[in-house]
């Protein structure tokens, strides 16, 4: 197990380096810092001085990879690549366009993001798995048919319409909860109910259908027939035998997103004005704040890799056949 974890960690390093190189190439090689400066400053104020100033302020005035002007180790370290990419590995993220420390900002925004994403994740899992089990229990009946139709219809609706519709119906017509905003502490609950509810509804269609397919596939296996031949009740067959085995494919898709919950949801947060990482990302994108976007890419892939490792570990818990060595 330990050896496995070490190997996985070792495997993560080249991937992170790859991500880093890729983003670096995207941000600094496709466009020169001059181009970026021009974009940021707008057409009117573009003078060579303004550009130079903009670059100096952000540390983009160095060479990309090799600083011939510098001495010794600084030839490597006094470069954009070192300053902007290598330092990320020690979580030195630098500052955003508005001068705030990105690391601090991320720390403070993780909470609200998690406050929405975690309940959505858990509730959704519970709701959709139950719904899917219900459909499978009533397999090939009218309930199953219309349940699937409902799922297909639900998954054909863009996520934004769920949010808009929910806000309109619950906040505007029924005035049950505030339409958007966020407060710290217990008050947060009032603001969280709607986004969480909508988040769960929005995922029902796709996920239920997926789980249903998995359950049906598992339900057709020989050992399920064996279980029925033992005289077990349909519920026992479903919960003990089918569900247990279905956990393996389900975990593949589910566990990997757990660390990503920290990243929050782009749409929900921006529609509801929640100060989380999702809305941070959106703000950074619309403000064309390249440093923040780059940091989010890095953190995102870090969390994804963590998710992959978690997935592998979770297999050990449900599947006795797998031993990580």
């Amino acid at each position: 197990m330990l050896a496995y974890l070490i190997r996985r960690l070792a495997y993560a390093i080249p991937i992170l380096i790859g991500v880093n190189l890729l983003t670096f190439a995207l941000f600094f090689v496709v466009n020169t810092p001059d181009d970026m400066a021009r974009m940021q400053l707008g057409i009117k104020r573009v003078t060579p001085e303004a550009i130079a100033h903009w670059k100096a302020e952000r540390g983009y005035d160095k060479p990309l990879f090799w600083n011939a002007a510098a001495e010794g180790g600084k030839r490597l370290s006094e470069t954009i690549f070192f300053a902007k990419s290598v330092r990320m590995f020690v979580f030195d993220f630098g500052r955003a366009e508005d001068g705030r420390d990105i690391a601090e900002e991320i720390k403070s925004r993780m909470g609200p993001s998690l406050a929405i994403a975690a309940p959505v994740f858990l509730l959704e899992l519970a709701v959709t798995i139950s719904f899917a089990l219900l459909l499978v229990l009533f397999r090939a009946t009218r309930l199953d048919f219309w349940g699937v139709v409902l799922c297909v219809a639900l998954m054909s609706i863009s996520g934004m319409f769920y949010i808009i519709g929910g806000q309109f119906l619950i906040s505007k017509i029924w005035r049950l909860v505030p339409i958007s905003g966020y407060q710290e502490g217990v008050d947060a609950l009032r603001f969280l109910v709607l986004p969480v509810f909508i988040g769960v509804i929005a995922g029902i269609g796709t996920n239920t259908r997926w789980y249903r397919t998995i359950f049906i596939e598992e339900g057709g296996r020989d050992y399920v027939r064996t279980a029925r031949a033992k005289g077990l009740s349909e519920a026992a067959v479903l919960f003990v035998h089918v569900l247990r085995n279905a956990m393996i494919p389900i975990l593949t898709g589910v566990v990997v997103v757990i660390p990503m919950l920290f990243m929050g949801s782009l749409l929900t947060e921006s529609f509801f004005g929640i100060p989380g990482l999702g809305s941070y990302t959106i703000e950074a994108i619309s403000a064309q704040d390249f440093s923040v976007v780059r940091v989010m890419v890095f953190i995102g892939s870090l969390l994804y890799i963590a998710g992959l490792m978690l997935t592998d570990i979770s297999y050990v818990l449900v599947d006795p056949r797998i031993r990580l060595d």
Partner: protein, 482 residues
């Protein structure tokens, strides 16, 4: 010439794709396993109804993909000496046929079928005084009197006419179909008619090969009805209202169809070669090729999709913005941006298909017919082309139709986030985005959203239903599970 044809990049590619589809269809007709699969799709009622609706969307989208610039120095200026002047504005066949929608802008918001603007404005009274009131629309319901008292009756009459027209056209289609079928099968008309509706199975062994004509006709009926109503109403009204700058919302919704199709189709054109080549190579050659491909797709899929797209789009935007000299018209610029969005979406979403194909190739390579091919000393290239690729086509096909609806939905989100299409390109995303600003208004401007919602829902739902039918027909594992 009275117009200058403009070939936008996306036009070129989309027609290329259509050509490709036609060629593939002809090939599929000859290839027995594929034909069998499609015949299976053809029997699926939901799938065929969805395909009918999709076909209508395709006609709209494709007619919006023939662009030109019309001549503006008058038709009589064709004396040949002077170089002709053409409008800067690039228009499409669809624009031409929707001229009456396009060329009747109001001042600002108006509700569907409204006679007056949604906002109060200064109105010039007949006696010269000015007052703040809801002004009459310039075009919407302009054939009615000042008070608009007979609007209800007029709308009802229009609806009745539309209904009659739809019924007529539908009956004609149904009759033609019955006639055609009875000719081909050499049976009586009544028998064909009964067979269309499944009241009677075809004779003999083809009892199971009944094409779901009933579903096609039913869907056609629905589409015809909606189309007739919209056409009839939009002659004198704004059927879906107008937006902030007074553009007809129905027009916007129709124009959005092309954007959605382009994104949904062209992206796969980018994604496919990447996923197929890398996936097969990794699964077939294994060893270091496999390691490399796995590294590639793990790395790319480890970056959250939206962020990678955002990063790429931001950078692409910088490139486009810093090279304004590349584009002759704003339409071309918007088009290149659309194309690069497809490119970026394709580059970031090939990984899942690639992983799937790699796994399947690994499995196939162990099968005995591949061993037999090795035993005959076939070259790697030939084994891949003749033995592996054809046995992966069903996966490719299924994932293509499944991806389509995902991409259409993704476009809306990306445009909302600001990393989608050019703001000047009409798309579902930009429609939602601009409508969202008005959500806070009291009372609310709901019709843009409603139009975008219903068009998108119809498009995505039919794509999903067709995808299900295709998957049922081609995926031996899933088949029968739903």
């Amino acid at each position: 010439m009275n117009f200058l044809p403009v070939l936008l990049w996306t036009d070129l590619l989309i027609w290329l794709l259509v050509l490709l589809l036609v060629v593939a269809a002809i090939a599929a007709r000859r290839n027995e396993p594929l034909r069998r699969g499609w015949a299976h799709v053809g029997r699926n009622r939901g799938g065929m109804a969805a395909a009918t609706v999709l076909a209508v969307f395709f006609v709209v989208g494709l007619s919006d993909s023939v662009h030109f610039r019309s001549r503006i120095d008058g038709a009589n200026g064709a004396n040949g000496a002077m170089p002709a002047n053409y409008a800067v504005e690039v228009r499409s066949l669809l624009d031409l046929s929707l001229g009456h929608l396009r060329n009747r802008p109001e001042k600002s918001y108006s509700e569907p079928l409204a006679l007056r603007l949604y906002n109060k404005d200064l109105v010039q009274l007949p006696d010269g005084r000015q007052t703040r009131d809801y002004p009459r629309l310039r075009y919407g319901g302009s054939h009615l009197d000042e008070q608009g008292t007979e609007r209800g009756a007029d709308v009802a009459a229009t609806l009745a006419r539309a209904l009659a027209a739809a019924l007529l056209v539908w009956s004609a289609c149904a009759a033609l179909l019955t006639l055609g079928l009875s000719r081909r099968q050499g049976e009586r008309l009544a028998a064909s008619w009964r067979r269309i509706w499944g009241w009677e199975c075809a004779a003999g062994e083809s009892g199971e090969s009944n094409f779901a004509w009933s579903a096609v006709l039913a869907a056609l009926g629905g589409v015809l009805l909606v189309a007739a109503i919209l056409i009839a109403l939009s002659a004198n009204y704004h059927a879906f209202g107008t937006d902030k700058v007074g553009q007809d919302v129905l027009y916007l919704a129709l124009k959005s169809v092309r954007t959605a199709l382009i994104i949904g189709l062209l992206t796969t054109l980018v994604l496919l070669p990447l996923a197929v080549t890398l996936g097969i190579m990794a699964g077939y050659f294994r060893s270091w090729v496999d390691d490399l491909v796995q590294y590639l797709y793990t790395t790319i899929s480890s970056i959250p999709g939206v962020l990678l797209i955002a990063a790429a789009v931001l950078m692409m935007q910088v490139v486009i913005d810093s090279h304004p000299q590349w584009f002759a018209t704003s339409a071309e610029r918007a088009d290149v941006r659309l194309l690069s969005l497809c490119l970026i979406l394709g580059m970031t979403s090939w990984t899942s298909l690639c992983r799937l194909l790699r796994g399947e190739t690994l499995k196939l390579s162990q099968l005995e017919f591949i061993l037999a091919a090795h035993a005959f000393g076939l070259s790697h290239r030939r084994i891949i082309v003749r033995h592996i690729l054809p046995n992966l086509m069903h996966i490719v096909l299924i994932s293509l139709v499944m991806d389509f609806s995902q991409l259409v939905l993704a476009e809306a989100v990306l445009s909302y986030v600001g990393i989608g299409v050019d703001p000047s390109t009409i798309s579902f995303g930009t429609m939602i985005n601009s409508a969202r600003m008005e959500l806070a208004r009291e009372p609310m401007v709901w019709w843009s959203l409603a139009a975008a919602f219903s068009f998108m829902f119809a498009l995505v739902l039919s794509a999903n239903l067709l995808a299900d039918a295709v998957r049922d027909a081609f995926d031996p594992q899933i088949a029968g599970s739903s």
